[in-house]
Symmetry: C2
Subunit: 152 residues, 2 copies
Amino acid sequence: MIKLVNYLNKTNQTISTCESFTGGMFANEITNISGASNVYLGSFVSYQNSFKQSIVGVGERTIKKYGVVSEECAIEMAQNTLKLTKSDFSISFTGNAGPLAMENKEIGLAYICICSKSKYKVVEINEKNMNRIEFKENGLTVALNLFLDFIK
Amino acid sequence: MIKLVNYLNKTNQTISTCESFTGGMFANEITNISGASNVYLGSFVSYQNSFKQSIVGVGERTIKKYGVVSEECAIEMAQNTLKLTKSDFSISFTGNAGPLAMENKEIGLAYICICSKSKYKVVEINEKNMNRIEFKENGLTVALNLFLDFIK
């Protein structure tokens, strides 16, 4: 997380997030770092679908066709967050943390999308044996590696 | 936090938050609780002023006249969040976590507002000797007590 904050401070760029299964953990951890306030605009913690649709603007069609635990939903969450907050980067997190399976998709399935104005990248996560908090923490690790790869 | 989730589940009501100095800590902690997904809609982690203004709709006049570390800003954040998310309750957090003082206001000054459709309540916090993380944690404790008092 410190690497990300330092990179953004050095290059004078900003980031925002849109968090579903991580539930604000990314926002909480980045705002523990002194210096984050220059580069971190904020997060939509879109925990329920109504928040994803009415605030973040994820299409009803996307949710009906692919579900919220999908690559397509992750991409829309990230791209809409970039537009709404006018940040240089955004990262979205959507997934099935359990204990109940949503949309008949496996528990432990998640999608993380990073995007800038010119490109995006999505990764799929499949983790069977993590509890709720471990699953969130793992999501953050994946997102940070994705970011470092994205800016290469 | 469990008391809050249980109360909302029992009464079939929802809550949303708007977090500045707590930076998503409330969202992160409530989403660690199984059963929160029924009652917690989500959070605006409005870390930078641009997020508070363009997403949450806090008025430029309010910020110019009173600053973001003010009772007035906390009330607008909570009331706008209630309207935007259509929740039954909302809680907002705005304050000066340091290390630098904003708006010539003391470090350790913060405002938390809770509101429902019919009423609101604001508390002021003044804590001189807390680090960034302790200040966030203290904000959560104050908010939870405020909630339990609000529903009496």
